[in-house]
């Protein structure tokens, strides 16, 4: 399994645990007193699962198992693939940090971080699509 696939899959597993912790926190509010920002964790929870875990696991396993691009470059551009990994994970982490704070309008204002997170994840998504496209073929 290539190094980058291992990074994707292990990062995915870490996000899975983080997601379930967020899910427990959201639910725990119904039985114990928790700070108000916990109530705003719902989108963070959903995306830790959907982006951090499911999508990242798919990208990692795909990077490893999809048909080879060419003999010299079996996995397409390695630089692009690493860039995707870094942008996606930094982007998602920035969302986790900033979205609950922006939702409760906490000071200092982290809106810039949330906006940056949107841009980084957007670039990561399209880089992945572009770099994977040519590997989806019959031979």
């Amino acid at each position: 399994m290539p190094t980058l696939a291992r990074w994707y899959i292990k990062a995915g597993l870490v996000y899975f645990v983080l997601a379930l912790i967020a899910g427990v926190l959201v639910q725990a509010r119904t039985v114990v007193d928790l700070p108000t920002w916990v109530a705003t964790l719902r989108p963070v929870y959903v995306h830790l699962l959907a982006v951090g875990w499911i999508t990242q696991l798919i990208i990692g396993v795909g990077y490893w198992m999809f048909p080879k691009f060419s003999r010299e470059n079996p996995r397409g551009s390695e630089q692009l693939a690493w860039a995707t990994f870094i942008l996606l994970n930094v982007g998602l982490a920035l969302r986790v940090i900033s979205e609950p704070r922006v939702s409760i309008r906490a000071e200092p204002d982290l809106s810039w971080m949330l906006a940056l997170s949107a841009v980084l994840q957007l670039i990561a998504g399209w880089l992945f699509v572009i770099n994977t496209w040519a590997r989806i073929k019959e031979r």
Partner: protein
């Protein structure tokens, strides 16, 4: 990878790209309001990412890697037409649900789209069922 899987995975990639784009538009808008209509993308974002991307990718990969039949004329089984129909219905369904949620005049399409998605999944399962088998069977 068989042609149907190529189609499914490539279309799934497009749904991912567009779904991420809609998500990023909403997230950016949370940080710096851009346009009031942005949040109407909410149901489209969910449809594209969950059904268009995740479900379709899983279907494409399953059609590719699940056990095949060495002794049949078509190694992918007798019911591949059903899997092709599932591909068409799933994507028609996603598009219909998106259109129905975006244009109020087309709201009825949402139900039609959900029925198409349901039919797609049932047809795909009928195709896949006999392929979940021990080696050589």
């Amino acid at each position: 990878m068989p042609p149907l899987s190529v189609w499914m995975v490539r279309v799934a990639l497009l749904h991912l790209g567009i779904g991420f784009t809609f998500g990023a538009l909403m997230l950016f808008d949370k940080a710096a309001p851009t346009h009031p209509d942005i949040w109407r993308l909410w149901p489209l974002h969910i449809e594209l990412t969950l059904i268009g991307w995740t479900v379709q990718l899983a279907m494409g990969v399953a059609f590719w890697i699940m056990p095949r039949f060495a002794r049949l004329p078509n190694r992918y089984g007798r019911r591949t037409t059903l899997a092709w129909a599932a591909f068409a219905l799933l994507n028609a369904g996603v598009l219909a649900v998106c259109a129905g949620n975006w244009w109020p005049s087309l709201a009825d399409l949402t139900l039609a789209g959900r029925i198409a998605e349901l039919s797609a999944v049932i047809l795909f399962i009928i195709h896949l069922w006999p392929r979940i088998k021990p080696p050589g069977a």
